[in-house]
Symmetry: C2
Subunit: 318 residues, 2 copies
């Protein structure tokens, strides 16, 4: 088999990118290494939002806003509300089946990587979807309102607090999940998805050995900017850059990736930033990065593979 | 407040009896002490079938066959099946909310009795619903196919194995839940619902202190036969009586309750058994025990209260 095309992945942006990638290379070659920093427990159930977003999107089931299951019902949630609960995290009925499935297996002692592989198989996904680690590796968000769990910051408090930093208390004891280091070291290309550089890609890289593998791999490494113009395509990346006194632009992200990537993909609206990015010691590739349709997702994937020097096949129908 | 009318309760039969009882006495006076021997874990969730049947029935929500929620949907279950699961225990979406609610609170350290009180309150139930114990107290069924968990015997294997006995491994360490002993010792009447004498009432009585409280209470004690003619109204009671070489009749049940009750309520079809039952040292009361409508549930409750010497109010509309 050809060496894998490995994608370091957060949530919605990464999932959309992966959806394009599997249209232009054999899905079997694609390995997604997923952030688990957002994972949390919901009424006793283990929820892995980034993994699920990647799985649902690769299965073509993703909801309207990129997460959950499209057209899902909320009967269970409605009944919990009837019991006087006001769940701060809305989970649909079909989505809930995933969490029940995962939780039962984790409780039975299966590692998250095996459970995730089982979910991918059950969903008919040919690509490899790996959690970056099987250990608990939560992202803690330091804010002016105190230290918060990621979902507390992001969902319950709607990312309204000023971020002052991050803490990864599980990192020292975390080990890369089986296959993670090999997928980076032996890749045909390592692609950093257009995900949050702090709480998605950054959290991934905190797992001991992962950053080093990315630094030392012989594979071409290409990052796609999650910032277009001066805004994040999705999520709190722009706010975090601002709060942490980085430049709120693709250049601000590129600086975080200096020494980690060989090429940085900029949106056409940011073409003027290319010289400054290149001054950081990386090539640039300028293209349309807005993945508004499946065709444009495939086109971005093709451009990124081109930037990595990997041949893409014909776009297949999704 | 008047002394409680305390009911030792299994599942469907007990729930229907309780539904009648709250029509003829102030529901606030009614205390149900529920079997927990059937409790099990379903995909990581804590399920208490007898407690739930009692709660749903008292709330007027019970499903067509007496358990689950009437008209419930099965979206989550369908999605689990799409993931390749074949759950042997079918749980509906609204029912699932109860289990999520319970599981989250148990995991947070609340005892089952507090969780059950919370569910009863959330469902608008004025009566007191107590688990017999907060500890794990599973009923193990000894059969010709080996020792089985109760739900494995009853649901997964459809009660098709020959029963040779029971084991209650949690009993030695179990303590009566708060309020249980007082509800028996200080009752205006203790009523043994028409439930299985082995795995419902019998399991209850295995919790240290409960049998003794029933033996020594000053309250009148009245049991309603779960066997009418030579068949159980519901469940495997008749099969168990047969397999364990008891007489398969109300008399067979009465023998199990000798020394524990003052009066035994027989169905009219079993009137001829009254002398033999009375020879066991208990009074008998013969009436129609088939609770086919809410009105007949109320009528049975009124008869049972009469047999216990407790005045019932006018039947209120359900």
């Amino acid at each position: 088999m050809d060496a894998p095309i490995t994608v370091l992945a957060g949530g919605v942006g990464a999932a959309r990118f992966l959806r394009g990638l599997v249209q232009v290379v054999d899905p079997v070659r694609v390995t997604a290494i997923c952030n688990v920093g957002d994972d949390f427990e919901w009424n006793g159930l283990a929820v892995s939002p980034d993994i699920d977003t990647v799985l649902y999107t690769l299965a073509g089931l993703e909801g309207e806003f990129g997460w959950g299951v499209r057209g899902d019902t909320h009967t269970v949630l409605g009944e919990m509300e009837a019991l006087g609960e006001a769940p701060w995290f809305r989970i649909g009925d079909r989505d809930l089946a995933t969490h029940l499935w995962r939780t039962a297996r984790l409780r039975a002692g299966e590692p998250l990587s095996a459970v995730t592989a089982g979910l991918a198989q059950a969903r008919g996904i040919a690509s490899t979807v790996l959690p970056v680690t099987d250990e608990a590796h939560p992202t803690r968000v330091l804010t002016d309102a105190g230290e918060l769990a990621f979902q507390e910051y992001f969902v319950a408090r709607r990312a309204s607090d000023t971020v002052t930093g991050f803490r990864f208390p599980g990192a020292p004891a975390a080990r890369p999940a089986p296959g993670v280091l090999k997928a980076i070291e032996g890749a045909a290309a390592v692609l950093l998805a257009p995900s949050n550089p702090f709480v998605s890609i950054g959290a991934l890289l905190e797992v001991p050995g992962v950053r080093r593998a990315l630094k030392t791999t012989q594979a071409p490494r290409v990052a796609v900017s999650p910032i277009v113009g001066n805004a994040a395509i999705k999520g709190p990346a722009a706010d975090m850059l601002r709060a942490l006194r980085h430049e709120v632009s693709a250049l601000g992200v590129a600086r975080l990736y200096a020494g980690l990537v060989d090429c940085f993909v900029l949106d056409t609206v940011d073409a003027a930033l290319a010289p400054a990015v290149e001054a950081l010691g990386m090539r640039t590739h300028v293209t349309d990065t807005m993945m508004t349709t499946d065709a444009r997702k495939a086109e971005l994937a093709r451009e990124v593979l081109h930037a990595a020097g990997v041949a893409a096949g014909e776009a297949r129908s999704a």
